[in-house]
Symmetry: C2
Subunit: 343 residues, 2 copies
């Protein structure tokens, strides 16, 4: 047998177990002893077994199904992206299946296998916050499997990606706060391993600089979880000391902004008179809270449409998965509401 | 060939076309002429071709994948149900794939086929608003395919279901409004073909009756789409005439309540002083709007957990799909916030 062409059958024969035992052992399913799992995995490694390669080469026909891997469906932005994906997919006779990773790398790898087992024709991926090693995607791309990444740019060369101009969105938001006369603008930032967080921070810094303001690292706080509780606590802390007491907050998304607003109100301060607030992502609730929240709208539906168009081109052989990469960058839009209008 | 056992191959042979043409014609995929589709479908009908029966009988091993069919991922309630489903599924070594129907029957049938093509071991289903004929589910149940329905109760005998006590939730909400001294309580109701809508309406009616109030059909308005715009307009209309001008609103979910609140505020009226409002479902934003919205919390995560536990029992053969039906009904909880507290 040639290296790199071992199948589940080869492994099963060698170890004198059933094919299904090998398959389940490789996937870490329950009901298989740790010892068997170890044996199977070691032999698979030795024989350079590549499950996806075999599965992919066995594919005879298209399934007309697209797989979408996203961090969390509850995130409003992702639900708008899904609408755009389905719009284009259904129009072209494709169905869409979704898996969420809950921002966990382990789940991402697991749902990736599920998607491939289910013979999807291609994948649209926004990877998890935990993902710093992209091998599980690179392997597939090397096998010419169609993948388009959206929102979060992977650290892999020559991928096809659809993202938004996060830098520009953040820049406009902070420039707007400066123009409203706010002088001490805090940034509640996202996790640093996501390019979108770094770009929003860069936009914040550049806008401060262009407005003639000092950059103070103490005014950049990390809110990696992105829930209200975290930003509520972080915001209260800022107000404890005069040197970090802000008169405006730019949050990396609207839930984080909402937590900050609750903290500001709990201190008896007024929004936008005492403290201005701008969020990011234009969640469904953002126009309904008090005061309505200024935010940066991302073209979620358009991202989904564009990513799906590119993926279908790859699936239909009109674009090679291994061809030169392409980044489609879509513009954001600043929505100015009451929370940041001082003058 | 015996009736009921025709395969795609049989149809292909008879019509002298490829298997893949038959498969795609049956699924209404593009690229197949209408004439071929018609021929294939007629012969399939004649031969009593049952795609799922064949697919299911061919299954040799479990896929360790559960399929979830939901109306919309953007609905906060469903995202909490999904969390519960994944909690139990992952613990038991299962992956979860999701499809949304966008409340369309046609898509529901289409994603159902996708799920079965993908060899899911069982299905968790909350059907679409458009679904009034349940044949596509009944057929599968007759084949002993494991399905648990959640939130929305299908009109099929002897199914396994997990729902919440919508009647009780609505009853408590309206009783609370009456106890706060509101005298003219409007109900913004959901689509009448959903049992959950009818039960919420029943709870509303019974609570009015128990509080000694008249039932006035003019005070029950249908908001079937469930978006803010619809309930905004419906609410404004109520205030146009003295006879329908309410002093309280019970909405069938929080987005509908939020639309009503915007309408009330646009008229210069105060919540809860002039008009009290209670919603349903406890959306993420409901505690953040102004004033914070009283609502009926459904145990979303618990619904997902319970439904998945029951499904895994069926998959593992510990419970027969065709056995006597079972309804698990979980209790709701009234969350009283500022929007409905007059006294």
């Amino acid at each position: 047998m040639k290296l790199g062409q071992a199948t589940i059958k080869d492994i099963a024969r060698e170890l004198n177990v059933s094919n299904s035992t090998v398959s389940r052992a490789l996937k870490d399913y329950p009901g298989i002893s740790d010892e068997t799992k170890k044996k199977v995995k070691e032999l698979a490694e030795k024989l350079n077994y590549r499950p996806n390669a075999v599965a992919l080469s066995l594919r005879k026909s298209k399934s007309f199904t697209i797989g979408v891997i996203i961090p969390e469906v509850v995130h409003f932005f992702f639900s708008t992206v899904i609408s755009g994906i389905e719009e284009i997919a259904f129009k072209n006779g494709y169905n869409v299946i979704l898996c969420q990773t809950n921002e966990k790398l382990e789940r991402e790898k697991s749902v990736l296998n599920t998607m491939l087992d289910n013979q999807v024709d291609g994948l649209l991926v926004s990877y998890s916050k935990e993902t710093t090693d992209f091998d599980h995607f690179s392997k597939l791309l090397n096998l010419e499997f169609p993948i388009v990444f959206f929102d979060r740019l992977p650290e892999i060369d020559n991928t096809i990606n659809v993202t938004v101009n996060d830098y520009q969105g953040a820049y406009q938001a902070v420039k707007h706060l400066a123009e409203q006369g706010y002088k001490k603008i805090v940034h509640l930032a996202g996790p640093n391993n996501l390019a979108i967080s770094r770009k929003r921070k860069d936009g914040y810094i550049e806008a401060l600089r262009d407005s003639g303001m000092e950059i103070d690292e103490n005014l950049i706080l990390s809110c990696p979880n992105g829930d209200e509780k975290e930003s509520f606590d972080a915001t209260l802390k800022l107000f404890e000391k005069p040197e970090t007491r802000p008169d405006a907050i730019f949050a990396h998304h609207d839930i984080v902004a909402a937590g900050a607003m609750m903290a500001i109100k709990s201190l008896g301060l007024k929004i936008p008179e005492d403290v201005g607030v701008v969020g990011y992502s234009n969640w469904q609730f953002s126009s309904m809270i008090d005061p309505p929240l200024s935010t940066v709208a991302q073209p979620g539906s358009r991202i989904g449409e564009k990513a799906t168009e590119l993926l279908l081109q790859m699936i239909d052989g009109k674009r090679e998965a291994s061809a030169k990469g392409e980044n489609v960058v879509l513009d954001t839009e600043l929505l100015v509401r009451k929370s940041s209008v001082k003058i």
